[in-house]
């Protein structure tokens, strides 16, 4: 419409000041009518979303693809689906709006992520003696999908994204669970002791190469023997690596590869 006008009477708008003023007023009109239409659309959408979450609560719980789409939709309109469950969310997406959304999306979404968070905590606790408190997210996902031992139908179909969201929801509990990326894979750390840079570096090398020896650390990282030994001793003491003494040189492996391919 605007382009037609320009084409037909461009000469009539040769005065720049007049044209910009008219455009400004027209723009304001458009903005107002758009805002009204949008507010109306939103309230219709609100009601629809509320009904939707009630009727599809079961789907939200059982279907990870559905959940991912649902989460993407929420993010696209600036809503945190877990807003009701943590303090941070209350101030997100314009304060009141965030918690109103959460109320409407219903407890089904919150319940799901709460239950998932509980499972994540369980898995980390159960595997601590095997991995020292550092577990790959892929392994957590596998174990949760498989379910609790001896419980029929106890598995939850979840994705790594679901797990990440569940961990974020645990933040108000004091940051017991942190994520760290090593060699391209995401890990969850469930012990308070943080890795120092040297330790992180070695675990990263192990993640990429499978295992490490003192000579490899000296050669690839240009470390002195004493430094390499000190770091690896720390990692062994923290149960973060397993020792293999049947090679030519003692090898140090990450437990992350222990159950892979199974």
């Amino acid at each position: 419409m605007a382009s037609n006008r320009r084409g037909v009477g461009l000469s009539a708008f040769s005065n720049a000041a007049i044209s910009s003023d008219q455009y400004a007023r027209h723009g304001q009109q458009l903005r107002t009518s758009h805002a009204d239409a949008l507010a109306n659309q939103l309230s219709v959408f609100q009601a629809a979303l509320h009904n939707f979450s009630l009727t599809h609560a079961k789907d939200i719980r059982s279907n990870p693809t559905f959940r991912a789409e649902f989460a993407r939709m929420c993010n696209a309109i600036g809503v945190d689906p877990l807003a009701g469950s943590n303090v941070k969310g209350a101030s997100a997406s314009g304060g009141k709006a965030g918690s109103v959304w959460a109320k409407m999306l219903g407890s089904s979404v919150n319940d799901f992520y709460f239950e998932l968070a509980v499972r994540v905590v369980e898995v980390c606790r159960e595997t601590r003696s095997e991995n020292g408190g550092m577990i790959a997210i892929s392994e957590v996902q596998k174990r949760i999908t498989k379910g609790r031992a001896g419980v029929v139908g106890g598995g939850m179909e979840v994705t790594e994204d679901d797990i990440m969201r569940a961990i974020e929801s645990l933040e108000p509990l004091g940051g017991m669970f942190k994520t760290q990326t090593l060699g391209g894979s995401k890990f969850i750390r469930s012990v308070p002791k943080e890795l120092n840079p040297d330790q992180s570096t070695v675990l990263e090398v192990i993640q990429v190469l499978g295992y490490v020896t003192v000579s490899m650390m000296q050669a690839n990282l240009a470390w002195e023997r004493a430094r390499a030994i000190a770091v690896i001793d720390d990692l062994v003491a923290d149960s973060l690596v397993w020792v293999d003494s049947q090679g030519e040189e003692t090898e140090f492996w990450s437990p992350a590869s222990m159950h892979e391919g199974g």
């Binding site: 003696s129 095997e130 020292g132 295992y211 062994v236 003491a237 149960s239 397993w242 020792v243 293999d244 003494s245 049947q246 090679g247 090898e251 492996w253 590869s257 222990m258 159950h259 892979e260 391919g261 199974g262």
Partner: protein, 217 residues
């Protein structure tokens, strides 16, 4: 005295060319495995450090648990009632693919762990016949003697054989027990199971050796 059939299947295992992979067990052509697909070795049996006794005690405790589970499952699958340190199944304690094997001393450490009451016990050392000599063989309790006692007595009851006298031979190798899990059980172990029933007042034993008779109540 010991049953011969488990041992003959054990020796066939030590000579077969077993090549485990990380994903699936590929059976050798000369194996006499119970089923055509063979025992499904868990992935961690391809993890080299699994065969080194871990220096960190927390990690070691977990490792011993994994070994215990592995040995119990393997013996249950192949119905092995007794392990002898001088002729252990090689594919259980070593992985030829990765050139790793559990040292004999460490095998004993694992079995000691399994022999503790708080851990089952999942094995029972058989005292050596020579004085002051360490045990070199053990019974494997992938079912406990109590569970075997229940199974045995349950079968006697269901088949209406309470009150009749059955020989130890019949209980171990008779046609009637062809399909039973305890068939060909090591005789020494069967006697332990029968003694459980005797203690419970559910059985009485007459006579000696293979001619011994058992009456169930």
């Amino acid at each position: 005295m010991a049953a011969t059939s488990p041992e003959s299947s054990l020796s066939s295992f030590s000579t077969t060319a077993y090549t485990p992979s990380t994903t699936a067990y590929t059976p050798s052509t000369t194996t006499q495995a119970i089923s055509s697909s063979g025992f499904n070795f868990p992935t961690y049996t391809s993890f080299p450090p699994f065969y080194t006794l871990q220096p960190n005690l927390t990690t070691r405790t977990h490792q011993l648990e994994l070994w215990s589970t592995l040995i119990s499952s393997y013996c249950a699958y192949y119905r092995i009632f007794r392990l002898s340190l001088s002729s252990l199944p090689t594919d259980l304690f070593s992985n030829a693919n990765i050139h790793r094997s559990l040292k004999p001393g460490d095998v004993r450490t694992v079995l000691d762990h399994m022999s503790k009451p708080e851990n089952g016990p999942r094995i029972d050392w058989i005292p050596s016949t020579t004085r002051n000599e360490q045990s070199s063989s053990c019974y494997v309790y992938w079912k406990t003697p109590g569970e075997w006692a229940d199974a045995l007595h349950g079968w006697v009851d269901e088949t209406g054989q309470k009150g009749t006298v059955l020989t130890v031979y019949e209980l171990r190798e008779g046609d009637a027990v062809r399909s039973k899990e305890w068939r060909d059980m090591d005789e020494g172990m069967l006697r332990k199971v029968l003694n459980v029933l005797v203690k419970r007042g559910k059985a009485q034993i007459f006579g000696q050796e293979e001619n011994a008779g058992v009456k169930f109540f």
